[in-house]
Each structure stands twice: as C-alpha cells, then as structure tokens.
C-alpha cells in the first residue's frame, strides 16, 4: 500500500548521510568536539523522527482491519534496464522495519553520546564520527529498503563502514588484520547472497518485497517446481541468501570475523558488532520470512539448526575466554544464534508465528542489554586500561554506577525476571518446545551457560581479588554514565512490551503469555549458572584452574575457539594458496605471460632481420626498383609471346 503521510521517513537516513558528508568533508577544519556534537545532533533529529514514526505507525494509523499494513512511504525508480528489470529506491514500513528504526537510532544515539567522552583524547575523532554517521545511515537504509536489490546495496555499505570502524586504529597491525578479516569473510558470504538474489528474482520476476512476501502472490509458487540436486530452486536461492545473512550475523562457520572485530573502539563494538549490524542477517531472514515459510520450509529448518548449533558452540567458547570484549563477542554470536533458532521454528499464521515474534523481541531486548554490556566494558577498560579479565577485579567500589549497570545487563541476558531477557528468551524457548524438542534442549542448555559465563565476567571484573592498578580506577564521566543509565532502564523494562501485539509474521496481533512450565526451569537453570559462577569467581580461588585442568583437552580446544581460525588458516594458506592460487599464479606467470612475451619476441626477431632493407641508401632502393622492373618486363614479355 502506498501512502503519502509517511514520506518524511526518507529524511531519517538522509539526515545522517548529510551528516557524514559534512563531518567527513569539513572534519579536518572543525574542532573535534564540534564534529562530535554535530554528529550527535543529526542523529538526535533522526531518532526523534524514528520515534514519531513508530508512535504513529503502531498506535495511530498503521492498522487496517486489525492487521498492520506494509506501507510504501516513498518510492522512486532508480534504474531501468528493461521493462521488467527495474530497480527502485524506496522506503518500506512494516512492523519489523519500524522496530529496527527504533533499535538502531536508540543504540546509535547512546553510542554517540558515550563516545563524546570515551573517544575524547583519540586522534581521528572527526573521522570516527563521520564513519558512525555513515554506518547509521547505511543501517537505516538497509532496514527501510523496499526491495531486495536496495537491501543489498546498503548491506555492502554497512559492511564497508564496519570495515572502516574496526580499522579505526589503523596504525595497529592487529586492527588492520581484523578489519580485513571482517571485510573478506562477509564479502565471501555476500557472494552467496548476490547469487541468491539473482536466482530468486529471475524465478519470481521481481525484486520488490511487497510482491515477494505476499502470501497470496504468484511469487511463492514460481520456482518451487524446478529442482536442482534434490532441492527446489526456491530452496537453493533462499539458502544462498541465508549465506549472506550468516556472514553478517556471524553464524557458524562464518563467525570467525566477529571476535576479531573487537579490535575497533569499544563503542563501535557496542553499536555495530553487538546491537545493530550483526542482527542484519536475522532481519533479512525475517524480512523474507513469508517466502521462507511457504516456499522453502526445509531452508527454514536448516536455519533453525545452524542458529541453535552456533549458539551452543559460541556459548562453550565464551566460558573459556579471558578478554572481556571477546567473551561479549561470543555471547553476541550465541544470542544471535538463538534469534536464528527462533526464526527457524516459527510458523506463519496466528500463534504459530511465536518464534518469529520471539526472535524480533529478542533482537530488540538483546540490542539494549548487549549495547549496555559493551558500553560498561568500555567504561571498565577506560578505568583500568586492559581487556584481560584476570588483570581486573574488585572494581565494585571504584565504579559503583558501572557495577550496577553491568549487573542489570548480566541479569537481563541471563534471563532473570523481571528483566527484559527473561521475556524474550522464554518466548524463544516456548516456540522451540512446540516445534522441535532437540532445539529446545540445546537452547535450554545455552540459557544456563549464558548465565554462567556472564556472571563469570561480572564477578571477575567487579568482585574477586583487587589487583595492583597503576593509577586508581575512576568512574566514567557523566556523558558515558548517561548512556549506561538510559540503556540500563531500557534493558530492565523493555521486556514488558507486548511484542506479539506488534510484530507477527502475518501482521495480525495475537495474545501471548508467559509459559510458566518452561519459564520456571529456565529461571532455575539461569540461577544455577549464576550460583556456579558466584562459587567459582566471586572470591579469588584456584578452583577454576583446577576444573580447567581436569577438563584437559576439551578446555584447551574451547579456549582456542575449537581451532576454527586455525582450520581457516590451514584451508586458506595451505590448501587454497598451494593448490589453487599457486598453480593459477604459475599459469599466469609462465603460460600467459610467456605467450605474450613470445609473440613480442618473434615480432622483434623478424623485425631485426628485415629492417636491413631500410638502409637509407638511395641507390640501393633504386637498384632494387630497377631490377624488379626489368624482371617484371621480362616476365611480361615471356608470357605475352606465348
């Protein structure tokens, strides 16, 4: 449905693009703090517009006959290749895009405010703010995209800005390596995404989301009949699209870039690598959910299993890491795995769509509490100048506010009621329980492990033994605390939002309530996790070391992240370099280059031989000419006489 009344939403991303250009071009001339304030101001404008959009969409006029509408707020034809192949640029408003608008602008605004003091003394302050604007612009463009081609463009822009921000400290080799790794891994995944888009659109004949995701439309039935290697073309294209989503959302085995992405400044980790960009994959699957559920339910099952496996895998690794940002990174991977798992078990109509709703709900609450946790980690790192968990401890008396905020974040992610994580995780577990018991038990276990590793972190940082600090740790300045407090409140209360009233796959609200038969065991396992962490890490003891030694190889494998990086290194360095790249390079250098050089050498050789004719001796030319003439005349005479 096309509507005029929301056309102002175009300004939400464009304001930030303007901000990017302004700060990026004039940044060298402005005082750093001025660019920061500019960036924050423009984002504030965008945030206010987003909130207004959310308010009017959800509470004023988004509904028609009891169901939310998909609104095309803005549409313009961008490229025309043929009559059928046209690419539009537009704004699509539906419940998930509006929710994402709120999530992105909120977290981004908090990060902007927080960075004003966190990044104060860093070089490249203006550059940092211009890239933050670029990132927020691209991410907003991504969620508002009205067609799959537009989403791909912004998808790549998001990847680019992530690359730029991870590599913020570009004089540090590890940051450069991390940014390249992130870019290459996600690009590799995006190759699958692009092939998927082309397949999907060539079989359905449209890029447009409205046509693609219309449950009664013709797009769903086309392509299903054609099969390739036992799966329909639809399934193949959707699996390829999921590859792109898995790359951005760090699903196993494409998760390797996310832990390394922690080389970027901590607020960037909070914004991009915890709250917004990494959920782009979840968002993409949710965006195409109708087509997944009707045209390729097998792909959806695959997504559910991959997501759940990733969440377990990352949770195990998170229990053994000692770099606090890395623990948070793996916890992010684990939580995104849960969201994917939620989507994987969801159905379409009515209360069957609980998994979808739960996934979006968890996306929302996770963005709040994970951004909070990262910003707290930033405040801790700011205070003690290290990332290592065992170089911290006893910080609760130095950083009282951060302590409380971090505790709220941990309780939320662990799923202790009444904090937000409890509600969203309960819905995911319920959805899994109704659809697939295996996934439910794994996710249940993950919930317990989440509580354990988060409280390991909490007790390790704020309790445990006080270390020798070079200077007395001090609480963060007010601008940082403001973000922490705001996000703490959001993380605490956002669970009370009745998400199933707003976000459902078939756009019709349904009633959902807490399933105590699942919630009570979930709370119990969370409490067990917390208690275990408290026993092991609240006081300084050698018990954790003893346990890790007794686990032996398993602990070591988890600590080394199950050697996935090493496997990648082996595959790229040894297998691909030696057996693919090296032969290609050899072929290039020897066969192709030598063919060209050979042709040149032969030409040169012949020219050296024949250039003797060009002697510059006039009489020689005349001699040749005359003798040639005589010969021709003689020959002519001979033939004429016969």
């Amino acid at each position: 449905m096309i509507t005029e009344s929301y056309s102002y939403t175009v300004a939400i991303p464009l304001v930030l693009f303007f901000s990017f250009l302004l700060i990026g071009l004039a940044g060298g001339k402005l005082k750093p703090i001025v660019s920061g304030v500019f960036g924050t101001f423009f984002l504030l404008v965008s945030t206010v517009l987003s909130y207004y959009t959310a308010y009017s969409y959800f509470f004023v006029d988004g509904k028609l006959n009891g169901a939310y509408q998909k609104l095309i707020a803005y549409d313009s034809l961008w490229l025309t290749f043929t009559d059928k192949l046209q690419i539009h640029m537009g704004v699509l408003l539906d419940p998930i895009s509006v929710v994402m608008l709120v999530v992105i602008t909120t977290v981004s605004l908090m990060v902007h405010i927080y960075s004003l003091s966190y990044m104060k003394d860093e070089t490249g302050f203006s550059r940092y703010y211009s890239f933050l604007s670029l990132f927020t612009f691209s991410m907003l463009g991504l969620v508002m995209a009205s067609n799959i081609f537009q989403i791909y463009i912004f998808w790549e822009l998001v990847g680019l800005s992530s690359y730029l921000l991870i590599g913020h400290y570009y004089e540090r080799p590890s940051a450069v390596a991390a940014s390249k790794k992130a870019f290459i891994v996600t690009r590799f995944a995006d190759m699958g995404f692009l092939v998927g888009i082309l397949l999907l659109s060539s079989f359905t004949g449209t890029f447009d989301f409205l046509k693609l995701t219309d449950p009664n439309g013709s797009a769903l039935t086309q392509g299903s009949a054609i099969s390739f290697l036992g799966l329909s073309v639809m399934t193949w294209s959707l699996l390829l699209i999921f590859t792109g989503a898995a790359g951005k959302s760090a699903m196993f085995p494409l998760h390797i870039w996310l832990p390394d992405a922690m080389e970027g400044p901590t607020p960037v980790s909070a914004l991009i690598h915890a709250a917004t960009m990494v959920v782009a994959g979840v968002y993409l699957v949710a965006r195409l959910f109708t087509i997944y559920v009707f045209a390729a339910p097998d792909a959806l099952i695959f997504i559910g299993y991959i997501g759940t496996f990733t969440s377990l895998f990352a949770a195990v690794i998170a229990c053994t890491q000692t770099d606090i940002k890395r623990v948070l990174a793996f916890s992010t991977i684990s939580q995104i795995g849960l969201m994917m798992g939620g989507l994987g078990v969801s159905g379409y109509a009515g209360a069957e769509g609980l998994g979808y709703t739960a996934s979006m709900f968890h996306l929302f609450t996770h963005a709040m509490f994970k951004a909070l946790l990262f910003l707290c980690a930033g405040a801790v790192i700011h205070a003690v100048h290290t990332n290592e968990l065992w170089e911290m401890g006893g910080l609760k008396k130095f950083l009282p506010v951060t302590n409380i905020a971090f505790l709220i974040g941990c309780l939320a992610i662990a799923g202790i009621p009444p904090l937000s994580g409890f509600f969203s995780k309960d819905e995911i577990l319920t959805a899994a329980y109704e659809k697939d018991k295996i996934l439910f038990y794994v996710q249940f276990l993950v919930a317990g492990m989440t509580a354990f590793y988060m409280f390991r972190l909490y007790f390790g940082i704020f309790w445990n033994k006080e270390r020798d600090y070079h200077s007395k740790p001090h609480e963060a300045p007010f601008t940082m605390l403001f973000s922490l407090i705001f996000l703490s409140i959001a993380a605490a209360v956002s669970g009370f939002i009745p998400f199933s009233e707003f976000v459902t796959p078939d756009l019709k609200p349904f009633e959902s309530h807490i399933h105590w038969s699942i919630a009570i065991p979930a709370i119990a396992i969370a409490v067990i996790g917390v208690t275990l962490a408290s026993v092991l890490y609240r006081k300084d003891s050698d018990l954790p070391d003893k346990i890790s030694i007794s686990l032996g190889g398993l602990y070591k494998a988890a600590h080394r992240k199950f050697y996935i990086d090493e496997i990648y290194m082996f595959i790229t360095k040894n297998v691909i370099f030696n057996y693919i790249s090296a032969p290609i390079a050899w072929f290039d250098r020897n066969i192709i280059d030598n063919t060209m050089n050979g042709i040149a050498a032969i030409t040169n050789f012949i020219s050296v031989k024949i250039r003797g004719f060009q002697s510059g001796q006039l009489q020689q030319y005349a001699y040749v000419m005359v003798s040639g003439l005589i010969i021709i005349v003689l020959v002519a005479l001979y033939f004429m006489n016969n």
Partner: protein, 105 residues
C-alpha cells in the same frame, strides 16, 4: 639525310640513353651527377615521344606536346632537386649519396 634515319635508330638511341641514365643513377655517388642521369632518362623518353609521333601519327601533335611537358616538369624537378641538394650540403657538408643515410631504420 634525315629521311634516311628510320625509327629503329631513334629507338636504339633512346634505349642507349635510357640505360646510360639508369647506369649513371645507380653507380655515380655524386648527387648532381645522379640528377644529370635522371635528365638523360627523361630525355630518352622525349626522343621516343617525338619519334613515335613523327613516324606513326604525323598528322597529330600530342607527342610533341608531351615532350614539352616533360621538359617543363624536368626543369621544375631540377629546381627542387638542387634546392634539396643545397640544403643537404649545408647540413652535412657533403653531396655523396652514400653519406646521406638519414632515413636509415
């Protein structure tokens, strides 16, 4: 007496002149002498024109006119050639054709 001379004699004369000219053009090293050889070749042609005209088409005058054209062209050609030779001499201080190989590869 001139009536006794047949076309054969003219042909022999012009052939001799032509090949003397060609020989001179090919072997003499002095550019001026080579130019003179070219004149011989041209005049051999002139003799042919005039002789054919007289013996085969006495009622026509084209042969004579052509001979005149050739003379005129030869005169201009000499002017150009001498100019070239002078400027060559100014540049490389010789008019020996073997020394002049500026156009070598």
């Amino acid at each position: 007496m001139i009536d006794k001379i047949g076309i054969e004699q003219f042909m022999i004369l012009s052939t001799l002149m032509f090949f003397i000219g060609v020989y001179g053009f090919l072997v003499r090293k002095n550019l001026i002498t080579m130019l003179m050889s070219v004149e011989l070749i041209l005049n051999a042609v002139n003799i042919n024109f005039v002789a054919f005209n007289k013996f085969y088409y006495p009622q026509n005058l084209q042969g004579h006119f052509f001979a005149m054209f050739v003379i005129a062209i030869a005169a201009t050609e000499v002017a150009v050639a001498i100019a070239i030779i002078i400027s060559l001499y100014r540049k490389i201080r010789t008019i020996d054709v073997e020394e002049v190989d500026e156009m070598k590869y």
